[in-house]
Symmetry: C2
Subunit: 792 residues, 2 copies
Amino acid sequence: MIRASEDNEYYELTSPTILPKASGFLWNEKMMIHMNCRGYAVAQFMQPEPGKYSYAPNLEAKTFMQPEQPYYAHHPGRFVYVKDEVSGEIFSAPYEPVRVLPDKYTFSVGKHNIVWKIEHHELLIEMSLSLPKEDPMELWRVKVTNLSPKNRKLSIYPYFTVGYMSWMNQSGEYKEDLQGIVCSAITPYQKYQDYEKIKNLKDKTFLLADQEPSAWEVNQEAFEGEGGIPSPSAIRGEMLQKGESRYESPVAVLQYRSEMEPGEEREYRFIFGPAHDEAEIDQIRRQYFIDKNAGGQDGFALAELEYAEYVSEGRGCIEIQTPDADLDNFVNHWLPRQMYYHGQTNRLTTDPQTRNYLQDNMGMSYIKPEMARAAFLTALSQQEVSGAMPDGIILHKDAELKYINQVPHTDHCVWLPICLSTYLDETNDFTILEERVPFADSEELESVFEHITRAMHWLMKDRDERGLNFINQGDWCDPMNMVGYKGKGVSGWLTIATAYAFIIWADICEKGDRVNIAEEFRLAADETNAVVNQYLWDGEWYARGITDDNVVFGISKDQEGRIFINPQGWALLSGAADEEKQEKLIQAVKEQLETPYGVEKLAPSFTSMREDVGRVTQKHPGTAENGAVYNHAAAFYIYGLYAVGEKENAYRLLRKMLPGPDAEDILRRGQLPVFIPNYYRGAYRQFPHTAGRSSHLFNTGTVPWVYRCLIDGLFGLQGTKEGLQVKPQLPSNWQEVTVKRIFRGAVLHIDMKRNSGVATTEVYVNGKYIEDGIIKDLKSAAEYKVLVKIPS
Amino acid sequence: MIRASEDNEYYELTSPTILPKASGFLWNEKMMIHMNCRGYAVAQFMQPEPGKYSYAPNLEAKTFMQPEQPYYAHHPGRFVYVKDEVSGEIFSAPYEPVRVLPDKYTFSVGKHNIVWKIEHHELLIEMSLSLPKEDPMELWRVKVTNLSPKNRKLSIYPYFTVGYMSWMNQSGEYKEDLQGIVCSAITPYQKYQDYEKIKNLKDKTFLLADQEPSAWEVNQEAFEGEGGIPSPSAIRGEMLQKGESRYESPVAVLQYRSEMEPGEEREYRFIFGPAHDEAEIDQIRRQYFIDKNAGGQDGFALAELEYAEYVSEGRGCIEIQTPDADLDNFVNHWLPRQMYYHGQTNRLTTDPQTRNYLQDNMGMSYIKPEMARAAFLTALSQQEVSGAMPDGIILHKDAELKYINQVPHTDHCVWLPICLSTYLDETNDFTILEERVPFADSEELESVFEHITRAMHWLMKDRDERGLNFINQGDWCDPMNMVGYKGKGVSGWLTIATAYAFIIWADICEKGDRVNIAEEFRLAADETNAVVNQYLWDGEWYARGITDDNVVFGISKDQEGRIFINPQGWALLSGAADEEKQEKLIQAVKEQLETPYGVEKLAPSFTSMREDVGRVTQKHPGTAENGAVYNHAAAFYIYGLYAVGEKENAYRLLRKMLPGPDAEDILRRGQLPVFIPNYYRGAYRQFPHTAGRSSHLFNTGTVPWVYRCLIDGLFGLQGTKEGLQVKPQLPSNWQEVTVKRIFRGAVLHIDMKRNSGVATTEVYVNGKYIEDGIIKDLKSAAEYKVLVKIPS
């Protein structure tokens, strides 16, 4: 069974086999961990290096996370073996590695912890994982309860995988004085210049216990023996052998041997994580365990509490009650949490892609706008004098642009006004525009106004003779790295997005009393839209781009990649599409891209390399950019639908994107409804069997845009310079909704109701009719009662 | 039980549990594969990229091979599940993944194939692996024999792991027309410049069968189900489900369901490997399978035969019969095979380290001298005009210097005369010295004489004011990357080795009629030895070097790294050590470095970073360069002992290095005696429990030096300009040995016998006494009978 807990703090699964990949994730300032219901650590990453402290048993490529990831028997994980010392029977919690189906099983994905409850052989095993607020380490509780009416002789064996830490130097041993296992590794380096970077890494792995174990094992091979991981030879014996590891794969296993009376409970607590040296581990032990044992404060429980508070700070600015209870649950509880994760951690990277950094912080405008503000200034201080934005934003002095950030993309400037506008909507803080920041290549300070205007001018110049924007080696959401690397190819989407950015910037300039600039960019937007319609309209929809060799693609005569969602969604926003074109492209999207699982990114998916398009066409059909239901792109399309008042279409697609509690839907997607993944598998018309599956990746720019769809679109509660504009676009079958909206410190209790007596939407604040629907003069900390009458 | 087969073609193991890591390796021109007795593919690598075709199930770092490698349940492997359709019982051959101990078991590591024989439940399963001579693919035979007196209903399931091929694009399906499984993957790339490199990769993986299977499965997850790899759910069912893989980890499993009469045998044959496209796979199928089925030639059997012939070309130039039968077995069968592997494949790299390339080809002087000749010329054509040798030799136009070859080492020049001298000893081909080759930075041709003289001058100049050779970021065998990176630190070993290189070069020049040059370098060698004794002699042994900050290390006052083997062994060769020093250093080595498993590289092993020494001190104590019994270094010491006539010491240490058939010794080392590993674990005095273990890595420069120890030292059958010099140094307890020596085309049948009637060694050829012990005027293809009388 799959269900939300009554208090909405958890999502629960009651069998490890019906949804084998079900997972939850936790994060803090330094790390994230993604655990699945069977005990596998799907992904675990920390910043800075070494990135991991629990490794695959062989040399593993250090990856952050991978879509639709498979598991293997020795995948890193956290487990507890349980042995009945009388019968000799063995099982493991939560399920792996022994894979005995327990009598009862619950996997609860919470907001600030993840909990398993396993009942088997009249024993209850409860495991929970939490994190401290800042340190990269795991806080584990393991509670054992004897449910049987007789005394039990038991051994429990908490089993934390350590794995193959390093081919250069790895070892591990139990340290009496620390009451824990310490595994040591040396991070390899080749060049002496790299030594300074690696010498201070936290490349030790420790497991600390609050209770002295009866025995332990630190040698993976000795632990497993011929029994292997499903039935380790070492636990067939009476006591673990207290072994050590010397250039052998370490493992951290403890044995607690005890006799339990009927009803008796015992709780064990563990800390698992990385450290630089034993002094640091000792310091952790004192902070979390010792004080409590000495009668002082319980550092462990305190850290759990602090973490729960930290996560709860990630509240959004709306609380809704609609006819769709699942929507309410997701929007009130899980969506802001996911948005907060992005804004708070910048996805655990020290060089986030510029577009991600801006959008993730756009989301923070709803939660902690002061952080969004600081982030915008940071990004702009890395802009070039030419107006160009870099491919990634460097967040630490030692960071450098890595991986995809070394490949030049041309879209980064468009995100500046688009993301800033949300910050201004929420805060009305136009002072940010007067802030003066330097450039990457100049110490001279210029205002944010000037910075963004330069970015807009850069976009205006980085165009071909037709007025279409160059794509170089890529733009957002489609690493089409071969369309324009020769310097000629252009991006249809980017040209349309540029028109939209001009409009947004013109709006901001107008409100910011820069009327001349506003005028310039309104004109530029009109010209750009005209060019778009001249060169990119294919008759029923917009093309995706034109290659270096002047081949237009994403058009009706293409066999694969015939239609892309991005040019369509953004053409609704930029105003390029007039009503006739809007109707046509919406129809084309419905026919060619819409599926039971959402709107696909492009269709048909490419099944082989198209050399003039490049990398996206090498991705698996239906995944990532190649024809997946790529939620980030879909969110823009939905936002565009709201922009042109297509509220029924918009809500239908929005609902498909949000993971719901419908069991069949959950099984299809393979994911609990606690986050929006970056994609659901697409290529629905080509490979229906696999379509709809979740990528299981929770890093995605989708979330703030879904929030904007809710705020600006569905509930129509967007901020403006004057106040809060109320303009809901509820689906016609909704009779009533209530929304608690936190806005610039004020709290508005809004009741939206169908009313057959009104012809247009009418807004009343504390009983008073508001003529233009914009609620003005709101006072911080004050509460307001708002009634919205909507025509039936 | 562990034993050599009667015909010495195999080494055999008869239980998978007594030596769980026992392994054998095969190679051809494009790939190598290292299989262990349980079915794991320890290492598999091919050149060029993509390197692998059978992957770990998750994203695996692509490594060539790793020392003392651990395994995990899903490690890549080749297995056969066997199910009795009546009883439902399942086991697997060879042992993994089911891990049922069979009634009888044999693992036979052969020279040109690897064979397993498993008897269980009255069934005999025989598996064998061979390779074709050139193509990177595996040729498998699986034979099933019904040993029981009744009819049997069976399913056998050949199971070839494919694993997690690519996070970007992977799939797999059964192809009726190919009668096999084809798995497809796209190798990811980030930058468009890399696309040209990856577009032609063989990144498909195929399994072809010579007999039509009853069913198959291509989806790893579907195959395993909840049963997991030890008991896959799919084989619990009647028939495999004929599934496919779409962005899921592929696997290649076939099912053959059959009824077998008593005594009936069935053989299945498979080809497993990589290909660029299906056309190529079809071509392979036709070449290996179709012609046979059409009544034509049996391409499969032909390829096996060709491969056996190819391997048998790797014969050495001596065949011995001594009182030590195990020495005979290893030297006559396995040592030349390992040497041939190195010379033939250059360790499957396209940019071998210069010192490895020269030494591996030095070994080829004994097997295929024409290949050695070509290699020396190739290396010299990449020398700089300054005389400096590069860190790696580029063997393909697309190759580039990778990994460690990007770190500047200063020793490469010394290997030129040292390795060339063996070629000249064997061939007397002094014409090579007159060959004219260009430089890396100049098209101008110069003779090999001039090239090597420039290399010697480079060594003479790359020194500090004392006359000690700079170490920069490293020299051979000790990546001490921080001793001299500031440009001041010097290498004790390299200075000594330079003196030795000068002597060798002087000898060659003299024989090559360049008397003046010879004179120059003899003088230089004397001066160098004097400097060595002035600055590096520590009282009982030679220091290893002096750091940038003028700290002498590898000396008696050091707590760790007090003594290094390399300066000692080479001081015996260079003549730096007079008799008194020789005695002292040999005693120091005996006391501090000698262990039951051989001579350690340094002692005590470093247990923590020494920042002025660098990377070697970060390696695990007792491994690789940090205190292992590093056989390559040990071989030089032994060679040095022979050079000063220390024959008893030399043989004792030589014998410790060679893997023998003593069961206890094999268990300790964990390796069958079919190759010399690069190291046995050292740090014997610090961590005796783990000392002696084999690294299991068969890539090592050790082998040609062991051969030189045998030829130049033990049996004293070294070539000279005049002929074959006979000067054996047999251990005193050997009464008689016979050696068949192939030399410059002549075949000498040599009988060496103790004789109480002689005072010094006397040599007789075809009954005629040879005064100076040098057998001259040998005719190619002629046979000679040689008697050597050795004083008792």
